[in-house]
Subunit: 454 residues, 2 copies
C-alpha cells in the first residue's frame, strides 16, 4: 500500500461533484482517470460514497485501487462493502495484501468472506450475495415488515423474504416484497404468496444456470442452497445481467478466435493483446500447415493441371463458411438448452441433407460460372473445361456437406470433452475443414479427370 | 379461428396438472405438444392459468395459438394479458384476425394496444409495458401504499412508484417499493428515495440502450418518456433479459454468417434453414469467386512456380483468422460503448502495429517450417528454397497486418452505413481478406523471386 499524499484541491472538488451523481457515474468518473489518481480521489470521497463506488463491478482495476489505499481505509471500505462485491475484489488482490487485510478484519467479516471464496467465480455460489432477508415460517407479515424496517438492510435492494423451516432452517417458501406489502399484516408468511415450492439453485451449479432460471421464471433473485436445502445466499438479477454481458463478450471473442480479455479493448496493453491473439493464431497456423503438406502430396496433379489451383481458395472458403454457420447455430442451441449432448445424432441427420442441399446450390453456381466464362471467352480452361467445371461442382457438394457436418459436431465434441462449446471459433472450424476440403477436392478431381488431364 | 372440439379426457387431466406448476413450466408443457393440441389445452385451462401461460414470451407460436382459439376466448385472454405481451402477440397475428379482435375489444384495451403498436419491436417503446404505478408528487407514502394495496396491480410485479408533477404530469421522481416500505408513512413521495433526477429512456431509443441503463444502474425497471418528459410506460428487467438473450443469439448467428432465425434450431423447417443459410453462403461464394479471377491473373507465375501454390491456403487462412479476431474485438467494444464511431482512427493506429507484430510471429514460424523441411529433407522446394521461404514470411506479415486492419475497420464501416456492426461475420471478413491476401502474396513473391523463379 502506498503512503497517501494529501488530496490536491481539484481532487477535493471532484469529490464534491461526485456526491451529487449516481454510483455508476462515480465509477465512470474514476475509470476516466489514472488508477493512482483514482485511489487518491477514492480516499478523499465521503466514506458512504466511496463504499457505493467500490460496490460497482463496473469500476475498473478495483483490486488495484485497494492496493493503493492506506490499509485502514482499505479495511474500512472492505467491511462496508456488500459481501459478493467484497469477495470479487478479494479474488483479484495479490496474496500478500489479501492476507494482510484478512487479519485486520473482524471475525464476522472474515468468515463471511471465506465462505464465499470457496466457490469459483463461474458458479452460482461465486456470484451470490449473503445479504438477503430471511425469516422463520412462524412469523407474521407485520412482524417481518417491522424487522425489515428496523434492520434497514442498507446495502442491497430487498427483493423477497426467504422463509425458513423453524426447526431445521431449510428454505421452504419465498414471499416477494410486493406480496408482503399487499398481504393482510396478521397472516403468517406461509399463508402469503405462491404455493409452488421455491425455485432454487445449488451453490456449485454453473452461474449460467442461475441466469437461465432468473430469465425463465422472471425472478428478481434466485436463492442459493446447499445439498441439504439450507439457504446460503441469493443471486440477484443485476449480478446475472453483469454475468450475461461478460459471457456474451467472451462468446463473441471466442467465436473470433481470441482468448478472454479481462479488460476493455481500449485498456488492454499491447503485450497482453499480442499474447491473447497470438496464442490462438499460432495454434491455428500450425494446424493450417497441414494444408501445405496436403498440397505437397498433390503436387504431381497440380503441375499437370495448374487450372485446378484456381479454385482452391473458393472451395476451401465455402467449406469454412458452411462450417461456421453450422457451428454458430449449434453453439447457441446448446447454450439455450434447445439441444442437449444426446441430440448429436439427430443434428448430424439434419445437417447431412442441409449440407448436401447447400453444396448443390453452390456447386451449380460454380459450374455455371466456369461454363459461362469459357463460352463467353473470358478465360480458357483448356480442352477439358467441362470436366473441370464438373469436378469443381462435385467437390463443392462434398466440401460444403463435410463443413456442415464437422461444424455442427465440433461443439458437441467440445462439450463432451468438458470444454465450452463456444470455443469452436469460426477460425477453428475453417482450419478443421480446410485440410479435408483440399483432400476432397483433389480426390474428386482425380476421379473426374482421370485419363484426361490427370 | 378453428371450431373447437370438446377437450379430450387426457387434455382435461393435463389442464389439472398444469394448475400446480409455474407459469413458465405451463408454457414449456404447451411447447412440447402440437400447436393444434396446445390451443385446445389452452382453451380448457382455468382462465387465470391460461392468462398466465399466454403472458409468457417463452410460449412458442403464441399468435398461432390465438388463431386457433374461439374468438370470444381469444378476446377475453387478450384483454386480460399484460399490455406489452398483448402487443407482442398482436404484431405477429395475420391482419385479418388482428382486425377482428380489435373491433371486439373495449375502447380502453384498443387504445392501449394501438399506442404500443406505434413503436417497433427494437425500440424501448416496443418492449415497454404500461402497467406501472404512478402517483402525484403531493401524495404521502401512506396514501400511495394504500393505493397499491387497493389497486392490487395483479398482472405485473411492482418495482417502483413513478412520481409525476401534479401540474404538467411530467415524471420528476422515482421511489422504489423498498424505499416506500422503509419510509415514514407521513412523508410525501418527494421526500423519500434518492435525490438524483430519474434515469429515463425515450420511447424511440434502441432497446439495447434501455438494457444498458438497467445493467449500469442496477435498476429493476427504467421509465420510458416522450419528448416532453411524460411517462409512457416502463421497460422491466425481465423483458430486458429476454431481449438480451435474443440479441445474443442473433449476434452469434450473425458472426457465423447465418440470417436471424425466429425459432429454435430444432423447430426451424428444412426450407427455412436452407434459405437462412443459403443467402449468405451464396453471397460469400459469389464474392469469393474474385479469388479465382485473381488467380487467373497470376496463372503465368503459378505455372512457372508451382511451389508457390502450396502456401496459398496457409497464407489466406492466416489473414482471415487475424481479421476475424480483430472484428470480434471491435464488435464487442462497440456494443459495450468502450469504442465510438469517432475512435476508428485510434483503432487503426493500434491494429497496425498489432498486425505487424502478429504477422512477424507467423512469418517467422513459416520461414522456420520451410527451411526445416528443406534442410531435413522432408520436401524439396527447389534451388531457390530460401527465397521462397522469405517470400512466404514477408507475405504473412503483409496479409496478417491487412487482415487486422480490414477486420477492425469493417464494423466501423458497417455502423457508419447504418448496419449492425455484428453483421461483420467471420466468413464476411475472411472473404474480404482472401482476395487481397492473394494479391499481396503474389506481389511479394514477384518482388522477392524476380530474376530467379519468376
Amino acid at each position: 500500500m502506498d503512503d497517501q499524499e494529501p488530496a490536491a484541491p481539484d481532487t477535493a472538488q471532484l469529490a464534491q461533484t461526485l456526491e451529487r451523481v449516481h454510483d455508476a457515474d462515480v465509477a465512470d468518473a474514476l475509470n476516466a482517470i489514472e488508477p493512482h489518481a483514482a485511489a487518491r480521489v477514492l480516499a478523499a470521497l465521503p466514506f458512504d460514497l466511496a463504499v457505493r463506488a467500490v460496490n460497482q463491478p463496473e469500476l475498473d482495476h478495483r483490486a488495484h485501487l485497494f492496493e493503493h489505499l492506506p490499509i485502514e481505509k482499505a479495511v474500512a471500505l472492505m467491511r462496508a462493502m456488500s459481501a459478493d462485491q467484497r469477495a470479487d475484489v478479494f479474488r483479484e488482490l495479490p496474496q500478500r495484501i489479501g492476507a494482510r487485510l484478512l487479519t485486520a478484519f473482524d471475525a464476522g467479516t472474515r468468515e463471511s468472506l471465506q465462505s464465499l471464496l470457496v466457490y469459483p467465480r463461474t458458479t452460482a455460489g461465486g456470484i451470490m450475495t449473503t445479504e438477503h432477508v430471511e425469516a422463520p415460517a412462524t412469523w407474521t407479515v407485520e412482524r417481518t415488515l417491522g424487522q425489515i424496517r428496523a434492520g434497514g438492510y442498507p446495502r442491497r435492494p430487498v427483493y423477497a423474504v426467504y422463509v425458513l423451516d423453524p426447526l431445521d432452517r431449510r428454505l421452504i417458501h419465498v414471499v416477494t416484497l410486493r406480496e408482503l406489502v399487499l398481504a393482510d399484516p396478521s397472516r403468517t408468511l406461509m399463508e402469503v404468496g405462491d404455493s409452488h415450492p421455491p425455485i432454487t439453485v445449488n451453490a456449485w451449479t454453473d452461474r449460467e444456470e442461475a441466469a437461465r432460471l432468473i430469465a425463465k421464471y422472471d425472478l428478481l433473485a434466485v436463492p442459493v442452497v446447499d445439498d441439504r436445502g439450507h439457504l446460503l445466499g441469493i443471486v440477484t438479477v443485476d449480478d446475472v445481467i453483469d454475468a450475461m454481458i461478460k459471457e456474451q463478450t467472451e462468446d463473441v471473442h471466442k467465436l473470433g478466435g481470441v482468448e478472454e480479455l479481462d479488460e476493455p479493448y481500449t485498456k488492454v496493453s499491447f503485450g497482453t493483446m499480442i499474447r491473447k491473439r497470438g496464442g490462438w493464431l499460432c495454434a491455428l497456423f500450425l494446424s493450417e500447415m497441414l494444408t501445405a503438406t496436403a498440397m505437397q502430396h498433390f503436387e504431381g496433379a497440380l503441375s499437370r493441371a495448374i487450372v485446378l489451383t484456381l479454385f482452391i481458395p473458393l472451395i476451401m472458403s465455402s467449406g469454412g463458411n458452411s462450417g461456421s454457420q453450422a457451428t454458430s447455430l449449434i453453439i447457441r442451441a446448446l447454450a439455450l438448452r434447445d439441444l442437449r449432448l444426446k441430440d448429436w445424432f439427430r443434428v448430424a441427420l439434419r445437417e447431412l441433407p442441409t449440407g448436401i442441399a447447400l453444396g448443390t446450390i453452390l456447386g451449380a453456381i460454380g459450374i455455371v460460372r466456369i461454363v459461362a466464362w469459357q463460352l463467353l471467352g473470358f478465360f480458357d480452361y483448356g480442352a477439358h473445361w467441362f470436366l473441370i467445371a464438373l469436378a469443381v461442382g462435385l467437390a463443392l457438394v462434398g466440401v460444403v456437406t463435410f463443413g456442415s457436418l464437422a461444424g455442427s459436431m465440433l461443439p458437441f465434441v467440445l462439450r463432451r470433452l468438458g470444454f465450452d462449446p463456444a470455443s469452436a471459433s469460426a477460425p477453428f472450424v475453417a482450419t478443421l475443414v480446410d485440410v479435408t476440403g483440399l483432400v476432397i477436392y483433389f480426390s474428386v478431381a482425380y476421379a473426374v479427370l482421370r485419363g484426361t488431364l490427370l
